[in-house]
């Protein structure tokens, strides 16, 4: 199984709390509320974005099928983008 690696889309910002995650899409200043279950993925995507292109050292746990589905849903919303270093 190939693990998709996603970074937070440029200009996006994330805050996660126990009752949900709020994402700001800076270019259009849209704000999304996502279930708290997205928190691990969003934090991972945020960490990758902060590391820029040099993420070869970043360790990502193999995603579960459910995680992959969540990543794809985030990508469809424009919240995460495939990271340049990913191996899809």
């Amino acid at each position: 199984m190939v693990t998709p690696r996603y970074a937070l889309a440029p200009g996006h910002h994330v805050r996660c709390w126990p009752d949900g995650c709020v994402v700001l899409s800076a270019p259009r200043a849209q704000t999304f509320l996502l279930p708290a279950e997205f928190a691990p993925l969003l934090r991972r995507a945020e960490a990758l974005a902060e590391r820029g292109g040099a993420d070869d050292q970043t360790s990502i746990e193999p995603a579960s099928a459910a995680d992959e589905d969540r990543y794809l849903r985030l990508e469809a919303c424009g919240i995460v983008v495939p990271h340049p270093g990913s191996s899809q």
């Binding site: 805050r15 709390w17 009752d19 949900g20 709020v22 700001l24 800076a26 200043a29 704000t31 509320l33």
Partner: protein, 305 residues
């Protein structure tokens, strides 16, 4: 000298000629008007404000006068202009004071972009601020007036200015706008409530304003750190319902009640995140002030934030 100490004819002449500078949150607004009934309302509602001879920098020039000489006589009207712009359609002449107050709200909410501006009342007790954010008709102003009566300091009835750097709420301390049934509800809160003459038939129904307490005016430069956010929801005959909200839910609700959250981008996002991180957040449904006031006192006693 306070406005209350100024002789009425002198005040009215000055209002019509060079204008009266009034502090309006972080701004100074110079108000000019030739309307005697507006002058009278200003003297009543802003009685405890200082009348400065040398006001310093004037941020905005506001004029409230008939749009033309004809409109002084034929179906008399009044218009509000700010720095020469007229953001609203003229209103009946009798609505001059509500129009001024609505116009001042517009001035702040349209320009205070060094703050996150929320459609919310804000009060202070023991150095901590309570933010009451709600849609129109939710009982926000009535509850705000009742809390003032109970000893809370008024920072604002209508607009919360959240400083982007410090996270503190900046006071505006202007009259509390009351509508329809809430006028009599507030009048019944105690003897001699300083409520001005009601204005009938406005777009919001009957409107009257409650003068801000002198102590709130005197402390209008002292900000307060927010500790509680409440979303009040009045419903006639409703029972009490208290629901604690998580930070994410509170964030989304506050973003909806902000005038400039989208405009501020990351700075607004960070300010709201800090606000929900440091406050307890509740939605309170109520049918009577006697239900909701003890709940707010309990929140205060719990010492959140």
């Amino acid at each position: 000298m306070k406005i209350a100490d100024c002789a009425a004819p002198d005040f009215d002449r000055r209002l019509a000629a060079k204008g009266i500078p009034l502090p309006c949150g972080p701004y100074v607004v110079r108000i000019v008007s030739s309307l005697p009934h507006l002058a009278s309302a200003l003297r009543f509602h802003y009685a405890d404000f200082e009348l400065a001879d040398e006001p310093g920098f004037i941020d905005f020039e506001v004029r409230v006068d008939p749009p033309s000489a004809l409109r002084r006589i034929l179906r008399p009207q009044v218009s509000f202009t700010c720095d020469g712009r007229a953001p609203f359609q003229p209103l009946p002449l009798a609505h001059a004071f509500p129009m001024l107050e609505w116009g001042l709200n517009w001035v702040i909410s349209s320009h205070a972009h060094d703050h996150l501006v929320l459609h919310a009342a804000v009060l202070e007790r023991d150095g901590r601020a309570l933010i009451l954010s709600a849609d129109p008709g939710s009982g926000k102003s009535t509850l705000c007036a009742a809390l003032v009566q109970a000893g809370w300091r008024l920072l604002s009835d209508e607009l919360t200015l959240l400083d982007l750097e410090s996270g503190q709420c900046r006071p505006i301390a202007r009259p509390i706008s009351l509508k329809n049934e809430s006028i009599e509800v507030v009048r019944a809160l105690g003897p001699q409530q300083p409520i001005g003459a009601p204005c009938f038939g406005t777009s919001k129904g009957t409107v009257a304003h409650l003068r801000p307490p002198a102590s709130s005016v005197a402390q209008r430069a002292i900000p307060a750190m927010p500790a509680w956010v409440v979303f009040p929801r009045f419903g006639r005959g409703h029972g009490l319902g208290v629901e604690e909200l998580g930070p994410a839910q509170g964030f989304m609700e506050l973003a909806r009640h902000s005038f400039n959250y989208s405009l501020l981008g990351e700075a607004g996002f960070a300010a709201l995140a800090r606000l929900v991180d440091t406050c307890s957040i509740h939605r309170i449904g109520f049918g009577h002030l006697d239900q909701v006031l003890p709940v707010i006192e309990r929140l205060r006693g719990a010492g959140t934030a």
